[in-house]
Assembly symmetry: C2
Homo-oligomer: 428 residues x 2
């Protein structure tokens, strides 16, 4: 069977029309050298950075040093000596500029889901006379699920309405009883980008508060939470932020809400004086009020390496390249893949596009497994979506060309019909 894969690869090489122009684009790409800062698998095209970002090359030595010197040798002293205790704040302060937030407005801690629970409860308490919650049907499920659990347990009088993908659908649900709206800036399935400024304004006009989920946008495009007057935000740091598998998530609370917003998870690290070991909980006056328990230190360390990479470039330059990469892939999809039934569902309009491209096909699962077997890594989302993430820090135009050409060869050879590609995996 591997010979079939070899034939597909050979077909991709042979079909070199267009490859020269891809290589030209790489030569003209000022960001191309950034790729050298990542440890990427040899001989593969990795287009799944919207699920798990690649590893910055400096992570290995940094982690080895932290283990041998920080944990093994300095032991308990590292909580002070290496400032491990303050990682949620110091990492939050370095994430802040990437989302248009100020130092002191972002805390890196827990998971996106836990953080959403915190800020949703906080936001609901700020609108005590209202009961309406709005999210979106195609939001990443955990957002809807967390809201469902918080409503059932904490705000039983509240009800949730779910909008469709378009911004108009959200706006049409707003009303005088709307308390909180929770939306993803970029949709995890389609890659559609919402108009954060316009939607936030409409939510505020209705007297409601907004929580933005930036899981699929942070690190991929410029974000201006304060410029849009956003209230709260949450997100992860293991996708475009390249923080590593299960890297700490984060939350944003606009400084104007910090005094009044309350965290229901009143753990000791959110106390005003955690090491006074007092009986009564008294929240910190700062963003630390949203801390809960002891931070998983080792999972923060790769994110420090990734932030150092981001601090060597800027988001407008990354965004410009990202749009070129996704635009080029859609162009190649029209040219090579449409006739095989692979349909682009990501918006063509740049203002509505994140940094991923989604194709649909009824046989999306085996097609994606065949593609991965041929060295092009994307992923699949039920029921029929093939997702391709284009991380401008380490994806080049030749990668884009190679992915499209490989997928074309797979469709032409029917490789994906081999029974082994039908096998389902636990994590898709």
């Amino acid at each position: 069977m591997s010979t079939t894969i070899d034939r597909v690869k050979a077909a991709r090489e042979a079909a070199s029309a267009g490859l020269d122009s891809a290589r030209d684009m790489d030569r003209q790409d000022a960001l191309a050298p950034m790729r050298g800062l990542f440890a990427l698998p040899a001989g593969e095209i990795y287009l799944d950075g919207n699920s798990l970002g690649a590893m910055p090359a400096s992570v290995g030595p940094a982690m080895a040093e932290a283990l041998s010197e920080g944990w093994a040798k300095d032991l308990i002293r590292s909580w002070n000596g290496r400032n491990w205790h303050m990682l949620p704040v110091t990492v939050g302060d370095r994430l802040a500029p990437l989302m248009g937030a100020k130092a002191g407005e972002v805390l890196a801690a827990d998971s996106t889901s836990v953080n959403l629970y915190k800020v949703f409860c906080a936001a609901m308490r700020l609108r005590p006379d209202r009961t309406g919650v709005i999210s979106e049907r195609n939001n990443f499920p955990t957002d809807i699920h967390i809201l469902q659990g918080a409503i059932a347990n904490v705000f039983p009088q509240a009800t949730m309405a779910l909008a469709d993908d378009d911004d108009e659908s959200v706006l049409s649900l707003l009303g005088p009883d709307t308390a909180v709206v929770c939306l993803s800036q970029v949709n995890y399935r389609t890659g559609r980008l919402r108009d954060m400024a316009r939607v936030t304004r409409a939510i505020h006009d209705a007297g409601a508060l907004v929580i933005w989920d930036l899981c699929h946008s942070l690190g991929a495009l410029p974000i201006d939470l304060n410029g849009c007057n956003a209230d709260f935000a949450v997100g992860c740091s293991y996708k475009y932020m390249n923080g590593g598998p299960g890297a700490p998530a984060w939350l944003f609370v606009a400084s104007r809400h910090l005094a009044s917003a309350g965290n229901p998870l009143t753990g000791w690290q959110g106390h005003a004086a955690p090491f006074a070991f007092e009986v009564d909980f008294a929240p910190s006056a700062t963003i630390e009020k949203f801390r809960v328990g002891t931070p998983p230190v080792l999972s923060y360390l790769p994110l420090l390496e990734s932030l150092a990479v981001f601090e060597r470039t800027d988001m407008p330059a990354l965004r410009a390249k990202s749009l070129k990469l996704t635009g080029y892939f859609m162009e190649l999809a029209d040219e090579k893949l449409a006739r095989h039934g692979l349909k682009v569902i990501t918006p063509r309009n740049e203002a509505e596009r994140g940094s991923q491209v989604a194709l649909t096909h009824d046989e999306g699962w085996p097609i994606m497994q065949a593609l991965i077997a041929c060295g092009v890594v994307g992923d699949f989302r039920a029921p029929n979506i093939l997702r391709f993430g284009f991380t401008p820090l380490y994806v080049g135009f030749e990668d884009v060309w190679g992915a499209a050409a490989t997928l074309e060869a797979i469709m032409e050879s029917s490789l994906w019909r081999e029974p082994r590609f039908a096998e389902r995996k636990l994590v898709t």
Copy 2:
């Protein structure tokens, strides 16, 4: 000033009466070779494993391999290929035997504080007609704080009473309205060990449910949650479990409660089918219903190495050595330290003692800082407690002798009165 420290060290060496017998005890200690499995700092005596456990020597290579092969090379595929997705369950299953639990009753995830919020809410829902909550005044503060926050936000009709350190005090608070009791098995300040079987029985006799916090006992002594018929438990894995700074915490739900206990933090990873991406939350039927978000993978990996160490020994043997270590230290404290005003507050009775010894002194802070400067690492808890943790896996009898002799020399030399030792640190 360092010459003062050198003189203290020399005094310790000179005061070698008793050192020979300590060395004899080490020679007779069948567990002594386990120390070689840890990377310990050279020339120091580490007695703070009850705060941050030492690093298993195999962590360095295991982490390096996971980074270079798991993250950098296999990338997204490691969620399946390395079973990263199931780490909360597989690690939980390996923790289970250490606490007398069955596979499927323990989940390794989040922080102790977040886990306590989950199981406290679950337990309260199982006693819907009762409003009484009991904890203990000297519980680790986060336990009290989390209960305070859950009561304020989720169970506003509930009220909490706080018991004193002794078991009788807890029992005297039980009544027909008691819903849930949350206690630490070993007190973080005094090292006092509660009678889990007796207290659990009394709580059940009152018709209430118990949550045991095992942060200061798991890995240090045999625990039999199911033998005691316990309902819920929580704990961390970075103290006696040696899982690394901020290693994932865990929760235990007795299998008889699993079907009816509900997690208020309904994140996608607790869904019955997380990768079906469904709109409505439907909890998993297993312990996975207590999962929330994506697990911080890198923070789980050292715990796997530590569990492999535990699986080479057994808890009764570790407990026997632990009691010898703490007993020997108290004997030396009586002999060398009592006359300097350092008073043992840890119970002498073995059945009431965990694996730490606490001394009190009004000048505890500078004394502990001077001791650390002399190479003996314990810690300080306000207002006046010097804590010494004796991890039987890597602490020997010569360490115990050396710690007592150094502390004696510090008291005799008044080294601790040097102004530099008065400086406070962020994390104590």
